[in-house]
Symmetry: C2
Subunit: 244 residues, 2 copies
């Protein structure tokens, strides 16, 4: 049955399918439904604005390949990347209802890399597709959960800890989507993007990465990062308490 998938469909819906299936056990029928209801694919180059306003209910935009991010801009030029989106993720700019009536986007979704997007259809909760809608719900909850973890990261972790912690989160997510292997992952982000996500200056981001490299915790080149010792990288997300 796997052999029957067209190469093309396999090509760009694989991360989405793998991601969904990791949340809930899906049958081939569910994956067929996903492929069938997926909208036309839009191709984007890096740094294009993808979602300006609040997203349409029931028509989540998913990212089939490449990376994107929800970006908040301050008046004076500072910017904060609120969340990163990797293949298989649902794009969500967050919505502000502060003024009551018109929902207003808090952030703008922009591509951080060449990316392909498609509108997906959240399954109606009928019996046959129940596992599928559960998978969508789990994916949404995971996104919320990542926001909470990011607040902790920004509020209480040092630059080194933040960086290690982010790398591990991205690694987990990319493996879930089937886009990374055990030892490393693609990382198309510039140091400036990482800095804007982790609340650091570019210069300090650079020095933090150098330190992690010197410590043998990461090794990177050409859009990829390798983790020579995941256990030690994991330990670097927490403060090392030596002699008490």
């Amino acid at each position: 049955m796997d052999a029957k998938r067209s190469l093309e469909a396999e090509g760009w819906s694989a991360p989405l399918e793998a991601g969904l299936a990791s949340w809930s056990p899906l049958r081939e029928a569910h994956l067929m439904f996903v492929r069938r209801t997926l909208g036309p694919v839009q191709t984007h180059t890096v740094d294009e604005t993808v979602v300006q306003g609040p997203r349409e209910e029931g028509k989540p935009v998913i990212i089939a390949s490449g990376w994107a991010a929800a970006v908040a801009h301050l008046e004076d030029g500072r910017r904060q990347i609120v969340s990163l989106f990797v293949p298989g993720d649902v794009l969500d700019p967050g919505q502000d209802l502060q003024n009551g009536v018109e929902p207003q986007a808090l952030t703008t979704v922009r591509t951080m890399d060449a990316a392909t997007l498609a509108a997906a259809l959240d399954a109606e909760p009928n019996a046959a597709l129940r596992p599928l809608s559960q998978a969508w719900a789990s994916a949404r909850r995971d996104a919320q959960c990542r926001l909470v973890r990011h607040v902790v990261r920004l509020g209480r972790l040092s630059a080194h800890e933040r960086t290690a912690d982010l790398f591990l989160e991205l690694h987990r997510r990319l493996r879930r989507a089937g886009v990374a292997d055990e030892r490393g992952m693609p990382l198309p982000l510039t140091q400036e993007m990482m800095a804007d996500h982790l609340g650091l200056s570019v210069v300090h981001m650079n020095r933090t990465l150098q330190q992690l490299r010197r410590d043998g915790l990461i090794a990177n080149r050409a859009g990829h990062v390798v983790f020579p010792d995941i256990a030690r990288l994991s330990a670097a997300t927490r403060r090392t308490e030596s002699a008490g």
Copy 2:
């Protein structure tokens, strides 16, 4: 009709009712429904754990009086207050599905002050109660929105900006719930709690507050804070660009 409300009911469901009504125009019948379906009130003293695990679906716990917070604890004792809850808010610890099956709470909800809580019933989406369920949905979205804003605050604002920005957000929320007036608001938080929310050390939090006081942006005593000049406080949330 307003005169008919019992004083007791008025006393502890007022912030919730005012908060909901601010999201969607509600009639007396909707408020009656809220009062009628509200569970028994639980009284808590400061620093009690209120919600340990993931919250039950469809039975949101609301806070009728007092303050609470979703708190994340790190192994080494550092802690981050991820979100603050004021009267009328729905408590939500955030849920982690990372390991697939069992939802796991990311944070623990604790009282930051003496507080009274009750379980509320999210209205079924029948026609008569539609405005009510819309109000609940808006309140939920507002909570998500606050998380996004907090990421920006922690990632890109200085200590002074963060503090001013938080005060303005709390002021807006408390006014919405009818618990604060135009000039100031109750603030039962210790400096340590504010520090843990804003990602600062207690000492630095203290000095930042002193600075704001010296600048005439805030004045506080005994659990209350007053804003002598909201416009200037608002300006303090952004970097002041003098000569260009």
